[in-house]
């Protein structure tokens, strides 16, 4: 999946040295340019201020407190640099983390991924590209858990619509969803339209509505 575009510049923040080195290797291999690889949230913010990268890949749990410093720093970075794409790696699927992240900034160019996804190197690299290109990606595991619920207003969605919404949450475009579900792109558009109306989402620009649809899920778990 090498692209001919100028390479994406990345700041990588991960406290585990082994994994940091490994990730840096992976990113370089797929044509990303790792401008800084740091081990804590403060250094991450400093590196972003210094290098103004296209993308930040951050672990949620970093020193000094080993709680959600990485996430909080990422949320701050998003409001400080609206054009910055941020992908947060989480050890566990937790909606409240995902929700905080998606609710930050304009709710695009964000990704919330389970750390395990780095094992599937090609998909991981592709996901980072998608986020940098402006998509929002939520880990399929989060979506799976959300679909597990039978909660209003989501319960109004048909099974097929829920499937479509799951793919939206994973950041796929309608054309890709059509391939995945083996239906026509027109059918997908219809589903998407139904989802928006059932979730009472205003006909705004399409990307935002897609994100808001995902947020509707996430909000459902926040109450």
């Amino acid at each position: 999946m090498r692209s001919e575009q100028p390479s994406i510049r990345v700041v990588l923040a991960e406290d585990g040295v082994l994994l940091r080195e490994g990730l840096a290797g992976l990113l370089s291999r797929f044509g990303f340019e790792v401008v800084a690889a740091v081990g804590d949230a403060e250094a991450m913010s400093a590196a972003v201020a210094e290098h103004l990268p296209d993308l930040v890949v951050a672990d949620i749990r970093m020193p000094p407190g080993f709680s959600d410093e990485g996430l909080r720093a990422a949320v701050e970075l998003r409001s400080a640099y609206p054009e910055l794409a941020v992908v947060v790696l989480s050890q566990y699927v937790e909606q409240s983390y995902a929700y905080d992240l998606l609710d930050s900034g304009r709710a695009d160019r964000v990704g919330y991924l389970l750390k395990d996804r780095v094992a599937d190197v090609e998909e991981f690299a592709a996901t980072l590209r998608q986020v940098t290109a402006g998509r929002t990606v939520v880990d399929p595991e989060v979506v799976r858990q959300l679909l597990h619920r039978r909660r209003d207003p989501l319960s109004r969605l048909s099974e097929r619509e829920q499937e479509v919404l799951a793919h939206i949450a994973e950041g796929h475009a309608n054309s890709v969803i059509a391939q995945l579900l083996v239906v026509s792109e027109g059918a997908v558009s219809k589903h998407v339209g139904n989802i928006f109306s059932k979730l009472d989402l205003p006909p705004d620009d399409d990307v935002n509505r897609r994100v808001l649809a995902v947020l509707a899920y996430l909000r459902g778990t926040e109450r």
Binding site: L19, R29, F66, Q91, Y92, E94, Q95, A119, V121
Partner: protein, 453 residues
């Protein structure tokens, strides 16, 4: 200790109002009654120790050259005395000890309860076995021996000597006016009323000293009586219970800290390495031609590593959920509800972070309760709520299942009750046959000690 209302003469001595209060009189009364009761005790024990007294009389009254008494007779008397004392002693001391506990109220306002064990069976045999094997019986006997000897003797000396000295000193000038002749006072002798006057002054000054002497001695006696007669068992037991509860709480805290540590170690160590390894396997796979046998092998290894990774993730999360540490109950409970196979709604509105052990316990309660609901209740819906009421955290888990849940039906609920008890909390359950079931847990949490794990 602040002696606002002294409980014993010893404490009373330290107060400023000691001399004008009741304590000197109470102490004197106690010492006086000690003389009377001591006499009774002596009489009772003397009867029992009669053979010993006889033996002593025989041995002491021996003329040189007498072949009588035969040593065997003396030995026999000694043994008989010991048997009589051991056998009959408790019979004498039972009423005596009761009387002494009653008399102790004179100088000690704290309640005293008997340390005696109750026989576990009716009937004389059980009563006797209990009596003679109870350490309290022998402590009471020891007290009775003291009461028949040392205690009245010291009481007598303490009552008579200082007061007598004071009385004679004060009276000396008067005595000398009517009856010339030297009067022995303290360490000297005086012959005229004029010489005796300073001694009279000393005598007057001695009166308050008497009060102090009485109080101190009565206090010492009372302390001894309390030590030998009161139910040490009961106070010891309650002290031990408090200590057990504390140590249980300490163990629990230790256990929690240890879980934190294990979780951190696994996360920082094994998990990071495994993620890195799996990633490297994925990278290596890119370098192999897709149809090579090595690629197939590597794919298998990669899959296994991924499987292992997610298993380890679940394991670590089970040890201690990270989100609970980060965000407390409102952040962690929805995730529990998510993973429950029955739809569960969560309401958790807490004004602040709670102490980490409380959070862990509440999390555990909800996790166990939801697992129970999923396994046994046949419910279609469950609700979880967590809120603070004053200084209580109240956690409720309800379901619309078939009911009939009871702690004795499974270890799950018993384990819950134990966890709640460690935190000095309460657990209530209502689960009529046919449902619905409501589990309510109250955990006291001190709002003044917020901490995050």
């Amino acid at each position: 200790m602040p002696a606002e209302t002294p409980l014993t003469p010893i404490q009373a001595v330290a107060t400023r109002r000691f001399l004008i209060g009741w304590w000197p009189w109470r102490s004197a009364g106690y010492l006086l009654t000690t003389l009377a009761v001591g006499g009774v005790a002596f009489a009772g024990l003397a009867v029992l120790a009669g053979p010993w007294l006889g033996a002593a009389a025989l041995v002491l009254g021996r003329e040189p050259g007498d072949t009588w008494p035969h040593p065997a007779l003396v030995g026999l008397l000694l043994v008989a005395g010991a048997l009589l004392l051991a056998g009959g002693g408790p019979l004498v001391t039972l009423p005596l000890a009761a009387l002494e506990r009653f008399r102790l109220r004179l100088v000690d306002t704290r309640p005293v309860s008997s340390a005696r064990r109750r026989p576990s069976w009716p009937g004389f045999g059980a009563w006797a076995r209990t009596r003679y094997t109870d350490p309290a019986t022998w402590r009471e006997l020891a007290y009775a021996v003291l009461l028949a000897s040392v205690l009245p003797a010291t009481a007598l000396v303490a009552l008579v000597v200082p007061l007598g000295t004071a009385a004679v000193s004060v009276a000396a000038p008067l005595i000398l006016r009517t009856d010339p002749g030297p009067v022995a006072l303290l360490v000297t002798q005086v012959g005229t009323p004029e010489e005796a006057l300073p001694f009279a002054a000393v005598g007057v000054a001695l009166v308050p000293v008497c009060a102090y002497v009485y109080a101190l001695l009565a206090g010492a006696h009372a302390a001894l009586a309390r030590e030998l007669l009161q139910s040490r068992g009961r106070t010891e037991l309650s002290d031990e219970l408090v200590e057990v509860a504390r140590s249980r709480a300490r163990l629990f805290d230790l256990f929690e800290a240890e879980r934190h540590r294990i979780e951190r170690d696994l996360h920082d160590g094994a998990q990071q390495r495994l993620v890195t390894l799996t990633m490297q396997l994925g990278m290596t796979r890119l370098d192999l031609p897709a149809d090579s046998p090595a690629a197939a092998q590597l794919d298998k290894a990669h899959e296994q590593a991924k499987q292992l990774m997610s298993e380890l993730r679940e394991l670590i999360n089970g040890i201690h959920p990270q989100v609970l540490t980060d965000r407390g109950l409102p952040g962690a409970l929805p995730g529990l509800a998510e993973r429950c196979s029955i739809p569960a709604t969560v309401t958790a509105e807490l004004p602040r972070r709670l102490p980490s052990p409380i959070e862990s316990t509440a999390y555990f309660v909800v996790a166990e309760a939801l697992a129970n609901v999923a396994k046994h209740s046949g419910a279609a819906n469950a609700t979880v709520s967590a809120r603070t009421e004053g200084s209580l955290l109240v956690v409720e888990v309800a379901d619309d299942g078939s009911g009939g849940a009871a702690p004795e039906h499974g270890t799950g609920l018993t384990g819950l009750a134990d966890r709640v008890a460690v935190m000095a909390g309460r657990m209530e359950m209502s689960s009529p046959i046919g449902g619905p079931t409501l589990l309510r847990v109250e955990l006291p949490c001190d709002p003044s000690s917020p901490q995050s794990g």
